[in-house]
Amino acid sequence: MRRTFGRVVLLGAAAGAAYALLNYLRDSEGARKGDVQIVLDTGATVEPDPAEAQEFADIARKVLEIGGQTR
């Protein structure tokens, strides 16, 4: 009985961890490093800050949506 209870607890913990990992991966679906690249008029290549990169990605997604490339 105790052993079964222990297994159920372990199984629950594993399911919880998997759920948490899934949510984490879903949340970090936004702009990834290298997704946004800006070449300045000085010739330097830079990447925007993460918050700005997310802004770029969100608007770009809308542009692609409007253009009929995503649903």
Binding site: I38, V39, L40, V46, E55, F56, V63, E65, G67
Partner: protein
């Protein structure tokens, strides 16, 4: 195929011809557009049914953020911007006078080649909107 824009003094029809040439040259370009500094859509080649106003507003927003980001990073503006999205890429090339040449591609496009073709098209576009060689400067 292309939806005609408002033909202005700069010859939007001719400009759309240039954009169509870009699409023909770079088969991976799905849409292309020219925006003026104030965000006005000067010309675009868009599939039928695309909301031009919304498309222009979103591109203008992107160009605005790109300019702001460029200033923050020590430039005065951007030369080109590449944004990889879920369904493809959005590419911007800065024009003389603050305008923007924009294009979208599919997810598997050879972005470097498309940007190369866009940079080659830039001079012609600048000339047509009055900022290239022989233009207002």
């Amino acid at each position: 195929m292309a939806e005609g824009g408002a033909a202005g003094a700069t010859g939007a029809g001719e400009l759309e011809g240039v954009l169509e040439d870009l699409r023909a040259l770079s088969g991976e370009v799905t849409t292309a557009a020219v925006l003026l500094k104030d965000g006005e859509l000067e010309a675009a080649t868009l599939p039928p049914g695309v909301d031009r106003e919304r498309y222009a507003a979103m591109l203008a927003a992107l160009a605005g953020i790109a300019r702001r980001s460029s200033r923050e990073k020590g430039g005065s503006s951007f030369s080109q911007v590449r944004i990889k999205g879920e369904g493809g890429h959005v590419l911007l090339v800065g024009l003389e006078g603050g305008g923007t040449l924009a294009a979208t591609t599919g997810p598997d496009a050879r972005v470097g080649l498309v940007l190369y073709d866009m940079r080659n098209t830039r001079k012609e576009v600048e000339k047509m909107i009055g900022f290239g060689e022989g233009g207002q400067g």
